[in-house]
């Protein structure tokens, strides 16, 4: 695990090093007048040193929390990260449970009713969901719900509330920086409701796209379990529908699903980039894409490292979950 993080940092740094020292020196200047100082900056910060020296220096900077300056955010990367992170977190806090519940339930139904109309319908849904790029789907959702019906607005929260929160720090405390949670904690149902309304379109998009993937995995693993001998035995004993599918088959069918969970998380993160760009939600994905377009390199490096960290943590959780759902792993 630690090795993966180390590898990611080397990989990211190698990509960064493909820039010329002069190009990287630009990150240290803030006004056009300083351009003439570039050779000096290169010398001063040792930007033409050998790879390993620069890498070690970079790691040292990072471990003290200095990730550089983000031009897009107009503030240091570390501070900007904590500004953008809650937005992404909030969306995922809403979508993850929905994705898990809907995806597993639909996959189970498709597996139980293998080769019937239910199965075919979910199959069509899954294939279309898979073929529909997230950014296009977001645009379509935006077109329908914002353009045509104008029920749900894009963005994070209405301007009036942004202003209110900014101007009344004594009446409204930002405990978590999640607008829905803060709204409830402050007893401001209108803010909660407003934030939720801004969340609906991203939720619809994210859930649909990821569920389409999850349900296929659940379906095929369910079909495989149902055809095993122990299910035939249970059936022969006269157990009812609930015992066969929910108590026996579902538990075993979940194991392959947990295996692909890491992949689903990666897919959701990729999807959140498109969603945040199109629904103009200033989260990590939005920050990354904007930085890529505006060549804000420190941000790219930091966000890549962040995604590496998420990957490592996800895999750690998956390993723990394995032991929890599969006693064979726990007991050996």
């Amino acid at each position: 695990m630690a090795f993966v993080l180390f590898g990611v940092s080397v990989l990211i740094f190698s990509i960064l090093m493909t820039f010329s020292p002069e190009r990287r020196a630009l990150a240290y200047i803030s006004s056009p007048q300083q351009v003439k100082d570039i050779p000096m900056i290169v010398k001063q910060f040792g930007l033409d040193d050998p790879f390993h020296l620069q890498y070690l220096r970079w790691i040292k900077e990072i471990s003290s929390g200095n990730f550089g300056y983000s031009v897009v955010a107009g503030q240091p990367v570390w501070d900007a990260f904590w500004k953008y992170f809650p937005v992404t977190l909030e969306l995922n806090l809403f979508t993850s449970p929905l994705i898990i519940i809907i995806g597993i339930w639909l996959g189970m139904q498709a597996g139980i009713h293998y080769n019937t109309s239910i199965d075919h319908t979910t199959r069509i849904f899954a294939i279309i969901g898979w073929s529909l790029p997230t950014f296009l789907f977001s645009l379509i959702v935006l077109m329908i719900f914002y353009g045509y019906f104008s029920v749900f607005p894009p963005g994070i929260i209405s301007d009036e509330f942004t202003l209110f929160i900014k101007e009344n720090p004594d009446k409204y405390t930002q405990y978590t920086y999640l607008f829905t949670v803060d709204g409830l904690l402050n007893g401001r149902l209108d803010i909660f409701w407003d934030a939720l309304k801004h969340l609906i379109m991203p939720i619809i998009t994210q859930v649909t796209v990821v569920v389409a993937l999850l349900l296929r995995v659940m379906r095929s693993s369910m079909i495989e379990e149902i055809s095993k001998d122990y299910i035939i035995t249970v059936r022969a004993k006269g157990a009812d529908h609930k015992t066969i599918y929910h108590k026996h088959a579902k538990r075993n069918a979940l194991i392959p699903v947990v295996t692909v969970a890491g992949w689903l998380v990666a897919f959701s993160m990729e999807g959140s980039i498109a969603i945040e760009i199109i629904f103009t939600r200033q989260g990590i994905g939005w920050w990354l894409a904007t930085s890529a377009v505006q060549l804000d390199i420190p941000v790219l490096m930091a966000v890549c490292l962040f995604f590496g960290l998420v990957y490592v943590i996800t895999n750690l959780i998956i390993d723990i979950l394995y032991a929890y759902i599969d006693p064979r792993i726990r007991l050996t």
Partner: protein
């Protein structure tokens, strides 16, 4: 001569399985349609700039899209680029992206996966740890970083995607080699003194390649999606290039029309969007049917 080669017989059965599947028929129909459009592009939409046919012709510079008319049958998008022309030539772009990226990724992935799985040992260990690292960053994120480092442009997007795409092929190829390596017929070939290279190429690869093939079909679709999204962001194809993702980007400010007619500019998004969806759908449907046809567990069912 009633006896046919067993491999040929299996192949025939596979084709029979594939074409009994309705999704494969839809998929292949769509794919053939796109191939015809891609090949016939110079006849369907004669280029205005013969030396650079991927540049979309445009009449005027007005930002507002114009609805379909007799002059431009699909209408024009922002900047007055002809949507029909872009849709036709964009097919070629999509094929180029998909086949180049998946071809290179598959070549690298299958080669490394076969060698790593067959020989094992320290080489295998090192390679797999490297793949672990590459896997830790989502494709799109890593591709963005590489494109920023190499510079914008469709070619660089394709190179970046190929540089990352091989990672999944290595894993899939390696795992199927690991099981095949231990089978009796491979051991027998080894004892008979067949060279390692010949065992890999003749005895292991033909049996282990199926999961990779299924993945490749599915991958063409997802690579086209990623490339389209990067063009949409402005990292890929330049403005005015016949690329579906770029065309969606052109229309992006016109998702919502004037208040009295909110869906006025639907064609500017819907036509390039539909092209992407159908193209990806074609490959996914075929991939899905191939998986069912190749899967030994449900193959004879």
């Amino acid at each position: 001569m009633t006896e046919t080669h067993p491999r040929l017989k299996e192949l025939k059965f596979t084709f029979y399985r594939i074409f009994r599947n309705p999704s494969a028929i839809i998929g292949f129909t769509l794919l053939i349609f796109f191939i015809v459009v891609a090949i016939g592009a110079p006849y369907i939409a004669p280029p205005k700039y013969p030396h650079n046919p991927y540049r979309m012709p445009h009449k005027g510079f007005s930002h507002t899209p114009k609805p379909p008319s007799s002059e431009a049958i699909f209408g024009t998008t922002s900047g007055q680029y002809d949507i029909f022309y872009g849709a036709v030539w964009g097919t070629r772009t999509a094929f180029r992206i998909g086949i180049f990226v998946v071809g290179i990724s598959m070549l690298i992935g299958v080669t490394l996966g076969t060698i790593s799985g067959y020989y094992g040992g320290i080489l295998d260990e090192l390679l797999m740890r490297f793949v672990d690292v590459v896997f830790a960053i989502p494709m799109l994120v890593l591709a963005m970083a590489i494109v920023v480092a190499f510079g914008r442009g469709l070619d660089n997007v394709m190179i970046a995607l190929a540089m990352i795409g091989w990672r999944s092929y290595v894993r899939v190829m390696r795992s199927s080699i690991l099981t095949l390596r231990e089978l009796d017929y491979v051991q027998a070939a080894k004892i008979m003194g067949v060279s390692n290279l010949k065992i890999m190429l003749r005895h292991i690869l033909p049996n282990g390649i199926y999961p990779v093939l299924v993945m490749a079909f599915m991958d063409i679709g997802s690579m086209v999606i990623v490339a389209a999204f990067m063009s949409f962001l402005g990292l890929g194809a330049p403005k005015g290039y016949a690329d579906w993702g770029q065309m969606v980007a052109l229309a992006r400010n016109y998702i919502v029309g004037p208040p009295d007619d909110p869906l006025k500019y639907w064609f500017a998004i819907a036509i390039p969007g539909l092209c992407i969806i159908l193209f990806v759908l074609a490959w996914n449907l075929i991939g899905d049917a191939l998986r069912d046809a190749f899967d030994p567990k449900i193959r004879r069912g």
